[in-house]
């Protein structure tokens, strides 16, 4: 009964984002093959680094990709989104900078301590959100609206100075490139967070519990799962993601600007989750989908800039493309496509479906 799965079946929800990505690549190939050229250059700190649109897309999508992963978990468990990730990211950045300033000198140790403390602080803020959602059953959007509106003020209080500078080779190493490695460091941050989450999934039942709670909270409880704890956990993991993204963002610029750090990232992150084929209503999820979604969004932005679209117009063009992707992945279109597909299938697979319907 367990026939070998077809390759397209294992793709599942990734099909649409993969096709979208492929079309974007194809479009750029036809438009200007030079779009994909990769060069080698020496940057300001004397490192040999790869350059080119592709590298810059992967590099600048890093914060978004990291936060999308956390957003995926919260979405899956709570059936709602956290819109305060950008503002809380500003707080994370402020805590990181504050710790470094308090330590006096910037060393590997102080950076690690800063990262640790800013991670803890961020988790606390996210647990505040999580408590409102999981314990008080407030809708995630409302629960996170509070920090969305006041998070950047808190960041400002923590660091009175508007834009504290961090001048250290260690900082630019984290934000730009490692000596001897021609790939931008933020890419490694994405891989690190990805591996961390994979590790969490391997060593705990987080993935199964999160999906179960997201699909049917009542039934989850009747099977001995604690829905509140699962939701809080998803917010805590989002906290880890936000803090890593914030530190990456601060190091990238070598300064903290509480107004622009991770600005507007919440909406892009939610979008990445949706483009990745994950239901915003919670339940089943795939991190790879959201990561793919993040790179699609960045690729789109870079493509538009490469076409010399004026920055004010970029958002409008982006919106049009995203509407198309989201509609293509919508349940209505999906069921239409499935019905069409069913017509092409042979009698053998028909009999399987009949068995399923029995």
């Amino acid at each position: 009964m367990h026939g070998k799965k077809k390759w397209y079946a294992s793709l599942g929800q990734l099909l649409i984002p993969l096709v979208a990505m492929a079309l974007l690549i194809l479009f750029n190939l036809l438009r200007d093959p030079g779009f994909f050229s990769i060069g080698l250059a020496t940057n300001s700190s004397g490192n040999r680094v790869l350059t080119g649109n592709i590298i810059s897309i992967i590099d600048s999508a890093s914060e978004l990709a990291i936060i999308s992963m956390g957003m995926t978990l919260v979405t899956a468990a709570c059936g709602g989104q956290d819109i305060s990730v950008g503002a809380v990211g500003a707080i994370s950045g402020a805590v990181f900078v504050k710790v470094l300033q308090a330590m006096g000198s910037i060393s590997v140790g102080s950076v690690l301590l800063g990262l640790l403390l800013c991670c803890l602080a961020t988790i606390l803020f996210k647990l505040f959100n999580g408590t409102l959602v999981a314990v008080f059953h407030i809708q995630p959007m409302i629960a996170t609206l509070i920090l969305y509106s006041c998070g950047r003020s808190i960041a400002y209080w923590i660091n009175g100075d508007a834009t504290p500078q961090l001048n250290s080779p260690i900082i630019s190493t984290i934000g730009m490139t490692l000596p001897g490695i021609p790939v931008p460091t933020p890419i490694f941050a994405v891989i690190l967070v990805g591996l961390l989450l994979v590790l969490v999934f391997r060593l705990t039942t987080t993935q199964l519990y999160t999906q179960t709670v997201g699909i049917n909270q009542g039934a989850a409880r009747l099977n001995g799962i604690h829905p509140t704890a699962v939701k809080l956990l998803s917010f805590a993991l989002l906290g880890v993601c936000v803090s890593v993204a914030a530190v990456t963002g601060v190091c990238r610029l070598g300064q903290l600007n509480h107004k622009t750090l991770l600005a507007d990232i919440e909406m892009d992150a939610i979008l990445a989750v949706a483009i990745g084929g994950n239901s915003l209503g919670g339940g089943r999820f795939r991190l790879s989908g959201s990561i793919l979604g993040a790179y699609i969004i960045q690729m789109l932005t870079t493509t538009l800039y490469a076409m010399n679209v004026a920055p004010v117009n970029v958002k409008a063009y982006k919106a049009v493309v995203i509407i198309i992707i989201v509609i293509a992945g919508s349940p209505v279109v999906k069921s239409k496509l499935t019905a069409l597909w069913a017509k092409f299938r042979t009698g053998k697979s028909d009999s399987i479906r009949r068995k399923e319907a029995d």
Binding site: T205, G218, L222, N223
Partner: protein, 501 residues
């Protein structure tokens, strides 16, 4: 149309996707009578009322009202109200933060200028004439639930209603308040209002009703004068059994258990949904809770499993006192629970058959001990074969399986945890006959292997077949316990109905 009838419904049909909710149902309400509409959950009572009040549009049939020529066109709740049909639902639909007078007249004032002074005066008059202990200027939320309900009725009466529908009006009232409500109902009846009374409290039906209409599975069973229908016959009609047929049906059930050890024992166990009760089950015993739907049988087993918030009681397992306040506690003590509503509480619809099978087992293993993929596949395969679950693959989402196969998956989920005590609430509902028998046989086999099972089913034959002891519930109380020779259909029904035959 009979000349004293205020409402005549003929041949009412209403279908929903997949079910025929009403199949040619007739219903006649006379002037100045209290008419009880009876039936188990899902019999079609609320559908009939929703058709009558314009919430649902009927597929076919006619509704005639006194004083209206031809078919009364009821397509919306407003139409129903205009035709003189008012409904008071079990949950109050008034505005608690407005005054009584405002609640009486809100939405009924024609002009933009409202003379609240006049309305308050009128309200006080109505309240007084109906003997309702409330004042016009009082905020509604400061009245008791019973009085709020009476205010809702007063509003309906003041709107010149000819038909008053009371849907489970007594479910949240205490005895004194019920008596007060019944006085009001009798008063209205004498004023010529026709009252449709929907309730699941059997005694209350006989206290006030003149006539009873019984529905079952969307069909009309019949209309009877209350005085001519003994309570036990009413129960038989609601359940669809002919009393004479039942007398000599042999039971195949479980053999005598001898003196086995007690596995689970509860004293005064209560939850937010169930009243305190005592309960014992021995090792290898199959017993069951029976009673009409809504009698509290599901709530009792939910309390045992900690599914609702447990509010009191002492529990012993194998003689040792234990605390079970949430499902996880119960699972740790070897209790499994297959819930009544498979779709709502059982399946995790979007997860695969495999994940649905291993879920409870995984929870028992703990958060830091996730099962490997190969382990999951092994268990899933084993149980898919053992229970003959029909599925395209382990990866198929459970929602695309048939009801019977979904139920088997949930059953597999609990069997995999190897419980000492398994609670099955309606495991065979909505399942084809073949699967039903399979599940019954499985239960008896498990009991032979020394598992204790509590089995609940709406079908009495089925319970007689598998249970060696039946606990009978009525109105949320245990009213009897049947074993051995007492396990016959007629005896069960007598006990459910209470009183003499």
């Amino acid at each position: 149309m009979q000349n004293d009838a205020v409402l005549t419904m003929r041949g009412i049909c209403k279908s929903f996707p997949g079910t025929k909710a009403l199949d040619h149902v007739d219903f006649t309400l006379r002037k100045g009578e209290i008419h009880a509409l009876m039936g188990e959950n899902g019999a079609g009572k609320s559908t009939l009322i929703k058709v009558l009040t314009g919430v649902y549009e009927k597929d076919s049939g006619s509704i005639q009202m006194e004083g209206i020529q031809g078919d009364a066109h009821i397509h919306s709740p407003q139409d129903a109200q205009k035709a003189g049909i008012s409904t008071v639902y079990q949950e109050i639909t008034l505005c608690p933060n407005l005054t009584v007078a405002e609640n009486m007249f809100i939405g009924r004032t024609a002009s933009a200028f409202v003379h609240w002074k006049d309305y308050e005066k009128r309200t006080d008059g109505i309240l007084q004439s109906l003997g309702i202990p409330a004042r016009a200027k009082q905020e509604l939320s400061r009245c008791s639930l019973a009085v709020q309900q009476m205010v809702a009725i007063a509003r309906a009466v003041d709107m010149q209603c000819k038909v008053l529908i009371l849907d489970e009006p007594t479910s949240s009232l205490d005895e004194k308040e019920v008596a007060m409500l019944f006085d009001l109902m009798r008063d209205l009846k004498n004023r010529g209002v026709g009252i449709v009374f929907v309730t699941h409290f059997l005694e209350q039906v006989y206290e006030v009703s003149d006539r009873i209409t019984v529905l079952r599975n969307g069909e009309l069973v019949g209309e009877y004068p209350a005085a001519a229908l003994p309570q036990v016959e009413l129960v038989a009609k609601m359940m669809g059994k002919d009393l004479n047929e039942l007398e000599d049906l042999a039971q195949v059930g479980q053999k005598s258990l001898g003196s086995r050890e007690t596995l689970y024992e509860a004293q005064g166990l209560s939850s937010t949904e169930s009243r305190p009760f005592d309960f014992v089950i021995r090792q290898g015993e199959v017993n069951g809770f029976t009673g009409l739907l809504g009698s509290g049988r599901s709530e009792s087993v939910r309390a045992i499993f900690g599914a609702d918030r447990v509010t009191g009681g002492r529990i012993k397992i194998k003689g040792k006192p234990v605390r079970i306040t949430r499902p996880h506690d119960a699972m740790k003590h070897g209790i499994g629970y297959l819930p009544e509503d498979r779709k709502r509480d059982g399946i995790i619809a979007d997860l695969s058959v495999r994940e649905n099978i291993i879920l409870a087992m995984q929870v028992m293993k703990g958060f830091f001990h996730p099962m490997s993929r190969s382990q999951m596949e092994k268990f899933a395969d084993e149980y898919i074969q053992a229970l003959k679950i029909k599925t395209a693959s382990q990866d198929t989402p459970i929602r695309s399986l048939s009801g019977g196969n979904q139920q088997k998956v949930i059953l597999a989920r609990w069997l995999l945890t190897h419980p000492d005590y398994l609670i099955l609430d309606e495991p065979t509902r909505g399942i084809d006959v073949g699967t039903k028998l399979e599940i019954q046989k499985l239960v008896l086999k498990l009991a032979e292997e020394n598992m204790s099972v509590t089995f609940i089913s709406s079908e009495i034959e089925e319970m007689l077949r598998v249970c060696s002891r039946l606990i009978v519930m009525r109105d949320r109380k245990i009213v009897g316990e049947l074993t051995g020779n007492e396990l016959t259909q007629s005896q069960v029904m007598k006990t459910i109905a209470g009183g003499e035959l």
